[in-house]
Amino acid sequence: MNPLLLESESIAHKTSNNSYTLGPMQAGTPCCKPSTLLSIENLSLYYGNKPALENVSLDIYQGCITALIGPSGCGKTSFLSALNRLTDMIPDCTVTGNIHYKGIDLHDPTIELLKLRKEIGMIFQKPVPFPLSIRRNIELPLQEHGISKQSELSSIVQQVLLDVGLWEEVKNRLDSSALDLSGGQQQRICIARALALKPKVLLMDEPCSALDPISSAVVEDLIKRLQGSYTIVIVTHNLAQAKRIANYAGFFWVKETAGCLIEFGQCKQIFESPTHELTAAYVNGCRG
């Protein structure tokens, strides 16, 4: 058992008069009984010899939305990619420290990477629909994970498109190219594609920043609806958005050359009574 897990449990004893370990959710809908799903300890990340992230430790709670805020270039995206080991794809990138998912060491050499990424999905800043039809975009990963029955595929496609609120918009053109959709629709296709694999965790890297305000609002509402059913870690530059949807927030800042985690806590606390002066300055819009 790692120390962070014990720590959060000891907090649970202190506040045993309510059902939440860290007190009731302060932002968003009360969604869950926070238990640690991902625990990150002393995570450091280097590109070549250059550190990008140093000594980050935090817990991601099951069913909650955790927002990561901070200026550009402070390693939030790198942090996110370390959580599903997408950092393996980046040449020269080394990760040290521990990440435990449901108690399993993510850097265990015996871990099945494909299964891990199926459980921990990722949405990118720029929507990346594949140059295939809308239907194929969702079916392809499913087939690769062993679902081959056409009726099953069709029902999953319909279900996830309903989940992301896209079914009515695209049900008559499932076989046309996903590239013809608008940016907001493309991003929702990408979310649907990830949801189809029934992940436990969704990592979202500024999913709204490439979208217009209306599409952005639609995607934000969608993320809010996913709260509770999925554990979501979202990187965002939109502080208002973080405030609206997140249960927990982590503030990253660049110290010397490497990014680090300055403060982590309940969303309301980070925004309303930050303990660190950098956090206070950032959320009040003075710096960054």
Partner: protein, 278 residues
Amino acid sequence: MSKINFATLLIWLVAIVITTVFVFILAEIIVYGLSGLSWSFLVEPPQNAGRSGGIGPIIISTGLILFVAIATAAPLGLATAVLLTEFTPQDSRFGFFVERSIDILAGIPSIVFGLFGNAFFCLYLGLGFSILSGGLTLACMVLPILIRTATEGFRAVPNDYRLAASALGLTRSAALIHLLLPTATPALVAGLLLGIGRAGAETAALIFTSGYVDRMPDSLFDSGRALSIHIYDLSMNVAGGDANANSTALVLIIILFLINSTSISLANQWMHKRVISS
């Protein structure tokens, strides 16, 4: 005259000069070659060293040589490109050396390939003067073109696709087959066409490998004369062969044009079908 107008003029001038050269060559071949073109010219064997008769066996030999060349070079080229772009780290020494070797190979004059083919395929491997020797020599020659264009094609595929595919738990081979290959198809087809064009027009590399024999080949181990060699022979060695040389050149141009247009439309259709149904 303003700068922009001057630039526009220059661009037009260059375009016109290039087109004019092409039109002149084409016009001459058509003017002198069209009259000799007939069905019997296409199917009959040559007579009197090619002065009369047709080019039937020569078309067949050319087709067989091209087939051997492309059937060998295309899979090898594709595999090498995939290895270089998808399975070799960008800064590896191995990749660097392979790519430099390919660049050097691309710059070697075709006559050298001809001599190599003669020494290696005809003599060392004992294939003799044969369509197989000629095709394999051409394969060596077009391989650098195929690898280069395919490599560029794969590199042009946005890295986002690879990351997104990995994030969805797709294996690298699945991403390759379902995403990278279809996206790179236009580049692959373009490379294939360049290769076919180069192989189809090649003379020097074939003189020493597939030979001069102008009768119908019995098998791939038989010697066979390619269209380009026929043109060369008629215009250089056979007095009074110019008319048939022009007709043969016209046939060669038409064949290359047909190969180009059909493969482009096939590729388009295939891409379209992938998006729609597969």
